[in-house]
């Protein structure tokens, strides 16, 4: 079956192409092709990512208000001031992001594992079930938790009446409610990459490990889990950033002390019209998240990152 035949090594010098008069022009054209192909994407990035980002950095260093206008004064204090004012919310957001991401891995891994290895012919159906709720706007879904978890609502009400819970017990407006909401809302973005990674694990490798007398646990820890790491990495990259910057869950499910940095930024932009401060906070958040992710990538190894990026 797997007979490897020694093929002749490729010829080191490429077969000479028929010489053309305009060889130089042709070669230049050939060289330009990849750039031309990349042009639409690059333009997209420049217009919708690089330009706004530069504008944001520039704005984050201005001073003024909407009445007098914002003048560029390279006012770095916007950063120090806004971070010192909102460091509690900043740290809280990263904390929620971290806890929620870990929870998502804990929940998503068994689910993906089950679908990938036990799903059989219904794999796609199970994945579809997983995605089904996401056809409804996530704001509405989050809002419906408000209804379900109301203090005297359909879940807590009967439990309280049965004397199983204290009368003043409540889930909403607490930290677990916010973290729960975050975890719930971003779970599919963790499940899918892990599923893809597990799905790609070659079953022959697992069989081979059994042949070599590995126990089930050992086969998992030494073969399957390491091979699924790129999936976890991709999941973390996809979810940790939006979770930390989320402002919907804290707004809908949170209480007075659950404000996240996303809420602060939104408030500063739209309500207070404090564009410089809001830009400074956005940029600081972005920087922290990027540094965090690169640190994480470094710790996990670059090959995994590349592999994860390759999908």
């Amino acid at each position: 079956m797997t007979v490897v035949t020694d093929r002749p090594a490729p010829v080191s010098s490429p077969t000479p192409e028929p010489a053309r008069r305009s060889g130089l022009l042709d070669r230049m054209r050939m060289r330009a092709v990849p750039y031309l192909l990349a042009l639409p994407g690059s333009l997209w990035l420049v217009v919708f990512f690089v330009a706004p980002m530069i504008a944001m950095i520039s704005l984050s260093l201005t001073q003024g208000d909407i009445g007098a206008g914002f003048q560029q004064t390279f006012h770095w204090q916007n950063y120090t001031h806004s971070i010192s004012t909102y460091h509690v919310q900043f740290v809280r957001s990263l904390e929620y992001g971290l806890i929620s991401t870990v929870l998502q891995i804990a929940i998503a891994y068994p689910v993906s594992y089950w679908i990938a290895f036990r799903g059989g012919s219904r794999k796609t159906f199970y994945l579809f079930l997983l995605l089904l709720p996401f056809f409804v706007s996530f704001v509405l879904r989050t809002q419906s938790w408000n209804f379900m978890l109301a203090d005297n609502g359909i879940i807590l009400g009967p439990l309280k009446n049965a004397g199983l819970l204290a009368q003043n017990f409540h889930v909403l407006a607490t930290t677990p409610a916010v973290i729960g909401g975050l975890t719930y809302n971003y779970l599919p973005f963790m499940v899918l990459p892990i599923y893809v990674a597990l799905e790609r694990v070659d079953p022959r490798l697992i069989e081979a490990s059994y042949d070599l007398y590995a126990s089930k646990v050992r086969a998992f820890t030494r073969v399957i889990f390491p091979l699924s790491l790129p999936g976890i990495f991709a999941g973390v990259v996809i979810t940790f950033v939006p979770v930390s910057a989320d402002y919907v869950n804290a707004y809908i499910l949170g209480g007075p002390k659950n404000t996240m940095i996303g809420n602060v930024i939104q408030n500063n932009y739209l309500v207070n019209q404090q564009y410089p401060e809001a830009s400074a906070l956005s940029f600081a958040l972005m920087a922290v998240l990027l540094i965090g992710l690169f640190g994480y990538a470094k710790a996990l190894g670059t090959e995994d990152v590349l592999e994860a990026a390759a999908g």
């Binding site: 330009a51 706004p52 530069i54 504008a55 944001m56 520039s58 704005l59 201005t62 003024g64 208000d65 909407i66 009445g67 007098a68 206008g69 914002f70 003048q71 560029q72 004012t85 909102y86 509690v88 919310q89 704001v139 809002q143 408000n146 209804f147 109301a150 203090d151 005297n152 609502g153 359909i154 003043n168 409540h170 909403l172 407006a173 402002y247 919907v248 707004y251 809908i252 949170g254 209480g255 007075p256 002390k257 404000t259 809420n263 602060v264 939104q266 408030n267 932009y269 739209l270 309500v271 207070n272 019209q273 404090q274 564009y275 830009s279």
Partner: protein, 415 residues
């Protein structure tokens, strides 16, 4: 659990115009703001003019003629969806009206129209309803409103309640006339709150621990807290703000506050998530009238907040002439009464009460009952003594002042 249809009041509650300041549903607004930012340096808009030139009215209106069509921007569910008033207006004057419910919250709407106004371009609306508050003041400050020609507003002159001609945010109705007003007071659910709250200090009562709802809007919450510490919001100083913030901090630290709400408090109040809260009069009245809830509303002894939504004409309006006609049309008592019957907020036309009472006599059954209730409702037609206890938001003279105010109250609501 009882509603299995979308009740207009619920919908209004979800989309209610007063409520959307921090409205997450308006994430699109961020996009607009971002577009504004893309201009790298942002030009100032202040005209620096605080007084109106005496010839401003003549200067604006001279040579203007009507085009026969008005574009009206208003908040959702702020008029009967069948628009009977507008139909009457068209029948009477021949002027057609396109009515758009495009204002969901002011910061977003302001962000949307501001660039066009700054460029002296039409915003596509000839008439817009703006709440007294920060955006209203900015529109005045930046010179974005057309000065109203009172000589063409006979109904207004004749029928407006005198109180509305001396508002601090627009004394003499230079740029605006009220559309409707509401009161911020204490809403409570009598199922849980056995002694009716009478004072703002009830919001500090520890028996309501974790069951008090407050507004997240700093203008709203600031007024309440200032009244609670005995300061007059309209003339308050930064030291009053600080005292008020301390009062709010104390309330928060004691664990009293369940949440700082901006729009979904009615359902929370009905289902017992919160027992009492800062609430808008119209919401309570509508919820009782349409959802059969039994919520109560009280104006605290220290006072409450009065806010007013105002009809204004943008300076770049295509058709200010007919727009002004429409404004004055709403000051016909019959029209004002018909509007109040639907929206349940305070009408600036006292004579509308008689109109509604007459309608109630002519109606039968449930309609008559509802109209009678409306005509005698202290929330829709508050007594002069209740009105006297009400205060407006703090009007800021400069952006610096506003920033200072925000920096004191923001840490409370975004803690």
């Amino acid at each position: 659990m009882s509603e299995n249809h979308i009740d207009p009041v619920l919908l209004r509650g979800m989309t209610q115009r007063r409520l959307g300041r921090r409205d997450i549903f308006k994430a699109a607004g961020l996009g607009v703001a971002a577009a504004g930012l893309a201009a790298c340096s942002v030009k100032g808009q202040a005209t620096g003019k605080k007084t109106v030139a005496p010839d401003a009215v003549a200067k604006f209106w001279t040579g203007k003629t009507g085009t026969g069509h008005v574009n009206f921007a208003n908040w959702p569910l702020y008029m009967d969806p069948k628009h009977p008033e507008l139909k009457k207006f068209t029948a009477q004057t021949g002027v057609t009206v396109t009515y758009s419910e495009v204002i969901n919250d002011l910061p977003t709407f302001f962000a949307k129209i501001q660039p066009q106004l700054a460029a002296h371009q039409s915003i596509g609306y000839d008439l817009m309803v703006i709440t007294n508050g920060v955006e209203f003041a900015e529109l005045v400050e930046f010179g974005y409103y057309a000065p109203l020609d009172h000589s063409k507003m006979p109904n207004f002159t004749k029928n407006v309640a005198p109180k509305y001609t001396q508002e601090a945010y627009d004394p003499g109705n230079v740029y605006s006339v009220p559309w409707a007003s509401g009161i911020t007071g204490i809403g409570y659910n009598p199922k849980y709150v056995k002694t009716p709250p009478t004072s703002l200090q009830d919001l500090q009562n520890l028996i309501y621990k974790g069951k008090v709802g407050m507004f997240s809007d700093v203008e709203e919450i600031g007024v309440f807290a200032m009244l609670a510490v005995g300061a007059n919001p309209e003339t308050s100083t930064p030291s009053d703000w600080q005292k008020a913030a301390d009062w709010l901090k104390k309330q928060q630290d004691a664990g009293l506050v369940r949440k700082y709400y901006d729009q979904d408090y009615i359902s929370a109040l009905s289902n017992g998530d919160i027992w009492l809260n800062m609430a808008w009069s119209g919401d309570i009245f509508q919820s009782n009238a349409s959802n059969g809830t039994n919520l109560q509303f009280a104006i605290p002894s220290e006072g409450g907040t009065l806010w007013t939504d105002n009809m204004t004409i943008p300076i770049t309006a295509d058709n200010p002439v007919d727009s002004l006609k429409l404004i004055d049309f709403f000051y016909d008592p019959a029209i004002a009464g018909s509007l109040a019957e639907y929206i349940n907020y305070i009408t600036p036309v006292p004579a509308a009460q008689a109109v509604i009472a007459a309608d109630a006599k002519a109606a039968t059954g449930d309609d008559a009952k509802a109209l009678n209730q409306l005509a005698t409702s202290p929330l829709v037609f508050p007594a002069a003594s209740s009105l006297a206890k009400l205060h407006y938001y703090r009007a800021f003279k400069t952006s610096a002042e506003r920033d200072q105010y925000n920096s004191i109250f923001d840490p409370i609501v975004t803690s």
